[in-house]
Amino acid sequence: MFKLKCDDFLTYDEESGTYSMSADQKVRDEVEKTRWKEIGLKFLADWRLYLMLVPMLFVYICWRYLPMYELTAVFKDYAIRPSTLPSERSWFGLQNFIELFTASSPFYTSFWQSFRNTFILAFYGLLFGFPLPIILALFFNEIRSNVVRSVVQVCIYLPKFMSIVVISSLMITLLGGNSSNGPLAQLLMDIGGDFFDTQAASGLVNSTYYFRAIYIVSDLWEHVGYDSIVFFAAIIAVSPTSYEAAQIDGAGKMQQMRYVVIPSILSTVVIMLIMKIGSLLNVSYEKVFLFVTQGAGTQRNNYAVGSTVSVWANGLSDQGVAMAGEMLNNLIGMCLVIGSNMVSRKATDVSLY
């Protein structure tokens, strides 16, 4: 007679030809039952703690995780029933992604252009935005007077806390985005002479030639002071005895910087670098949006070199393709974050998450 291979949890009784639960399994069941009971009791004992989680969970599920559910619409046919929930549409496969990769589709050029822009802006941001705060912190360390230091501090952190609308509007007016000549653009043209003239006819911000430079400089202007805080804190934390030891060994000021300060802030530098690489693709879409569009979303001349993937998606009428592009961009961003974290954990024993 056929005998089931389940000796582990059942015993076969030859006489009656029936199965019964083995003694081992009874014990295991009992253990399992107690475990669940314990978990239940633990939960009941701390029910207040779990209740405290509820408002946060509500907000995060509603407006952080449900958007990810909305994102499943990217695999579904949008055109059939445009304004219903993703659950009411039929599956569609990877068509939206294929659109992005076929050269004949109408979205191909604009998507890859904005994808490229995202990377270029991010890369320039890293190239200049990373070393400058460190240099600034080293400079900061030279200021011994507390009054000067706090005045300078107040000034250089200021742009970080200003609204992006105010900053972009001021930049656009100063550099002449709406008319041919803002005061700062005028000054640059007076200094630079013919160098700017041809491009500046429609405003410096609008010119495809200078947009990236303007964007990066304004980004630096906004963030460098605030980003230097971390490095400055690391420099202050260097013990005075290290300086003394170096002085006794005959090191001058520059040598102290080379052999004392820089090695001791190196770990902070590495962590911050990894973090920067991790958030490489988080190019601020608000700021880019404000710079490359005008009024009710009409594109400025600099749209071609300025628009990032999010801005591109925002201006697209085909929601499916727009979501596919954004999803691709954000997935790459996520891989960068997780990858840089793993590298950091391996290399420095410090991980951010």
Binding site: M52, I143, V152, I156, N330, L352
Partner: protein, 329 residues
Amino acid sequence: MKRRMEISELIFKIVAYFFLLIFAVLCVYPFLYAIGASLSSDGALTGGNSIVLIPMVGEGDTLGFGASLKAYEWAFTNTEFWVAYSNTLFMTFFGTIWSLFYSILGAYALSKKRIMGRRGWNFFLVFTMWFSAGVIATYNNYTSTGRVFAAIAGMDPDQWLTSIDGKWLIVIAMGMNATNIILLRNTFEGVPAEIEEAARIDGATEMQVLTKVYIPMSKATIATVALFFGISRWNGYFWAMKVLGTSQEYSWPVQVYLRDFLETYTTIIKPTVEEYDANDWEAIYGSKGFDATPCAYAIVVCSVIPILVIYPFIQKYFAKGVNMGGVKE
């Protein structure tokens, strides 16, 4: 012992001072420019080529030294601006309270070692920092949650954007920040367990432990986080613009109003018929209307003034907050 300065050190010091001072001036220059331009009198900015730090003289120099308060007069009597301004105050106030409410409760629960699935909850938070659904999906989500809430409240879901007050939508649904929650959680974890135990022996409930022990002991962090939330609420632009759009202009925060004004204003402001009839417009502004550029700057200045005023006092908290922000598991 007085040490002689090396030449290289001296040069470095000079470069450092020079660079920092220049940078500091550059950082405040645009704001000074805005203040100067907003005080300039009628018609002085139309040439627009000069770097205005002191007010420019034109027609109607009311203050005597080239400055004119006419732009502010206009801004203060502009209803749309004040509606937007009060909307922003409303959103900042209630938004900060709401964000703090769920962040503190959540961070407190997550800071407890005994909570089950602690790693899972933390991952739940941190994942939102890694991956975001993107602009389109988030917008669709605001629409569909808006429809659902309208349906729950017994209103027509299709008309949700006209029936639901956009201010409340912004207060409740926007301004999430996982970093702030993690910052709070780390601070709560640093509170000594003995103090909590002592409170529990005295018969404190969970809520009392939080309000009487943890919150008073983490005041500095809570202040920092409140300021982070408050500033991001005050400055919030994109989602308010995207969700409210043109269908709910009366709920616009000041940033949206500001952008709209700056993008659409014509160089001359002329009164509407009602305004013309209602007060002695002609006596104040002249019959042909007046230059709008100082008015635009006056609105800019008004919208940054709350931050400029509180900023010097809170600046040190921000520095502290950044240094505490080391995220750990």
